[in-house]
């Protein structure tokens, strides 16, 4: 996720300005986000059809705790992006590291704790299928998001971003917030909607 040099864009016509390529990058990323969102919508619809007015028997406190971790990580990701946009590299590095730590806690909370404590397995009927496919697909996105954040943190440490040119940071932030938005709905669908089965 290094910054493209103004004179060597591979896909932009020669002489395309940084702003032009930035606009194309944004459009491309948002198209990806929307297409990826369709998969999550499909999983949510599967939950509504298969579980109806019931919900899996899960630990409410743990669900709230991991949700809080992800929400707060989004806050720090936003701070990291704002700090980079204003050229404050130390604050950017600090905030993105906090985001990384909180995202890792979320991942461990879901995969390492909730999956182990859930009273059903992936093959235990609709409940298991819905819960593990929804959380599994989301956790995979969190995992790839963490890799992306680490790459961006490392690039930032090496001084590859500036206040004027930091598309990599913006892209990582959009992807991370998207993961957060998806969880807002999954949290309701898995932990809060309906009566425990």
């Amino acid at each position: 996720m290094t910054e493209p040099q103004a004179s060597s864009g591979h896909h932009a016509p020669a002489g395309a300005s940084y702003a032009t390529r930035l606009a194309r990058n944004r459009l491309g990323l948002w198209l990806f986000v929307v297409s990826d969102a369709f998969v999550f919508v499909g999983l949510f619809i599967a939950r509504m059809v298969l579980l109806g007015p019931n919900r899996p028997e899960l630990l409410q406190g743990l669900g709230l705790a991991v949700t809080a971790m992800l929400l707060v990580s989004s806050f720090f990701m936003n701070r990291a992006e704002v700090e980079m946009a204003h050229g404050n590299r130390p604050a950017f590095l600090r905030n993105i590291m906090v985001t990384l730590v909180l995202g890792t806690i979320f991942l461990v909370g879901v995969v390492g704790v909730e999956w182990q404590l859930a009273p059903f397995g992936p093959s235990d009927g609709a409940e298991g299928a819905v819960f593990y496919s929804m959380t599994g697909f989301h956790a995979f996105h969190v995992f790839t998001g963490l890799i992306l954040l680490f790459v961006v943190w490392n690039n930032g440490r090496r001084g590859l971003y500036t206040a004027e040119q930091h598309w990599g940071v913006e892209a990582a932030a959009i992807y991370w917030h998207f993961i957060d938005v998806v969880w807002m709905f999954f949290y309701v669908g898995l932990y809060l909607m309906g009566t425990p089965a």
Binding site: Q60, A68, L71
Partner: protein, 77 residues
């Protein structure tokens, strides 16, 4: 120990940081509200989804800056 010069925080910078804090507070309050409703009145699933959509709106607008997608001005970044 070398003292690094501290750059003054500009107004747009302050505004963006403050917006981030307000959105975070809003998300915290609404999520806790969802939790309470989900525990006390689970059948209110539709209302909980509306609250989730409300939260998502603010994240998409203020954290993901969807407005930049439609911006015609030559921004930095």
């Amino acid at each position: 120990m070398q003292n690094k010069p501290v750059a003054p925080v500009s107004s747009p910078h302050k505004y963006e940081l403050r917006t981030g804090v307000w959105v975070m507070l809003l998300l915290a309050v609404l999520t806790f509200g969802e939790f309470i409703v989900g525990v006390i009145a689970p059948p209110w699933g539709g209302a909980l989804l509306l609250v989730a959509a409300f939260k998502a709106f603010f994240v998409v607008k203020d954290y993901m800056h969807i407005g930049r997608l439609f911006s015609t001005e030559e921004e930095k970044h």
